[in-house]
């Protein structure tokens, strides 16, 4: 009898992305949230924008941001998949939907690198 729970899973791929995004987020998220979501209107939109905001106009800066956006999205959505399992919600297709959203965010963020 074939039991789906007894096959080698692809989970290591998602776990790897979760781990990378989790570590990236742990190191960078608090500072980036403070800087971009709170200080940006005051220090980024003025005439002499802060150095960090200027950095995010360069290719390297935007690559860094795109990496942050996509990896933390993988981390967050992977956790949401397991969280939904924990509260017994939305059994069918939750993983496919969440990972599709993460893929979409990845593609969009890569497209966003060149838009400056």
């Amino acid at each position: 009898m074939s039991n789906p729970g007894c096959k080698q899973t692809n989970e290591p791929i998602f776990w790897g992305l979760f781990g990378a995004g989790g570590m990236f987020g742990a190191i960078c998220a608090p500072a980036l949230i403070l800087s971009l979501l709170f200080l940006y209107p005051y220090f980024g939109e003025c005439e002499q924008a802060g150095l960090l905001y200027q950095f995010f106009q360069t290719g390297v800066g935007r690559l860094f941001l795109a990496l942050f956006i996509s990896l933390t999205a993988w981390c967050g959505l992977h956790r949401i998949v397991h969280c939904l399992h924990d509260i017994r919600m939305w059994t069918a297709g939750r993983a496919r939907l969440c990972y599709a959203l993460a893929t979409l965010i990845t593609v969009l963020s890569v497209m966003g690198i060149s838009r400056y």
């Binding site: 009898m1 729970g5 007894c6 096959k7 080698q8 397991h82």
Partner: protein, 255 residues
């Protein structure tokens, strides 16, 4: 017992021949500072309700028989003292296992999973003539913590993932497997990883961490699971590189 005090315990009772569902019954016990919950249960069985069923053996936290939920927390009855519950307590059978009768649960899942992970030295071809198979203190230290498990099942009662999915191999079994994976005398790691690599293997774990919190021997199953995930992920990468994924394993295919 000079200063005997009275206390109310609410104990979950269930008689499969009579009851359709478990219920709580109140019992008054006498206790002093040295009374463990196991002593209290034995007192009740001897004096109040001879039909009360519970498992126990060594009375000293080494046999792992007397696991129960005390106020909803998995504990060894022999290692938990009534003096720490001055306002009374509830005693239930270990969570996440089927209840056979009163405080006795069916551990057969758990025992099956321990067997599935082959917690013994595999593939060592030494014979007694080769002399003792020595280990350095550093080699011992790699797995020593994980070898402390007494198979009491408290970590299974603490694990919501086992509760949600009883096919999950669970903390203690995987910890025991990992203990042998880390043993320098063992060569069975790849064999065990085939079982661990599955969805019901290490990948059901979400690092709740409560297993390590309740473990009476501080075997730290949560850490073992996390290390097994790292091993399993490396194994996954290796098998992708070698283009031979072991799709099916024997565990769970018994029917």
């Amino acid at each position: 017992m000079a200063d005997e005090k009275k206390l109310l315990l609410k104990i979950q009772r269930y008689n499969p021949e009579r009851d359709s569902a478990p219920y709580f019954a109140p019992y008054e016990i006498l206790w002093d500072d040295q009374t463990s919950f196991l002593d209290a249960l034995q007192y009740l069985k001897d004096n109040v309700c001879p039909d009360l069923s519970f498992r126990s053996s060594c009375r000293m936290a080494i046999c792992g028989s007397c696991g129960v939920m005390i106020d909803g927390v998995p504990k060894l009855a022999c290692k938990t003292f009534v003096r720490n519950y001055p306002h009374g307590a509830t005693v239930e059978p270990l969570a996440n296992f089927p209840v056979e009768r009163d405080l006795v649960v069916d551990l057969s899942h758990f025992l099956e999973y321990i067997e599935a992970l082959k917690p013994y030295v595999i593939g060592n071809t030494r014979s007694p003539a080769d002399g003792p198979n020595t280990q350095t203190p550093a080699q011992l230290a790699r797995y020593h913590k994980f070898s402390m498990c007494i198979n009491c099942g408290l970590c299974y009662a603490a694990c919501p993932q086992f509760g949600l999915n009883p096919a999950f191999l669970g903390p203690a079994a995987i910890t025991l497997g990992h203990r042998y994976n880390l043993d320098s005398r063992d060569y069975g790691k790849n064999e065990r990883l085939r079982t661990m690599n599955t969805e019901n293997g290490v990948w059901s774990c979400t690092f709740v961490g409560y297993c390590s919190e309740v473990c009476p021997k501080h075997a730290d199953p949560a850490a073992a699971l996390q290390q097994c995930k790292a091993d399993s992920a490396l194994n996954f990468v290796a098998s992708v590189l070698k283009c031979k994924k072991n799709k099916e394993v024997s565990h769970g295919d018994k029917t």
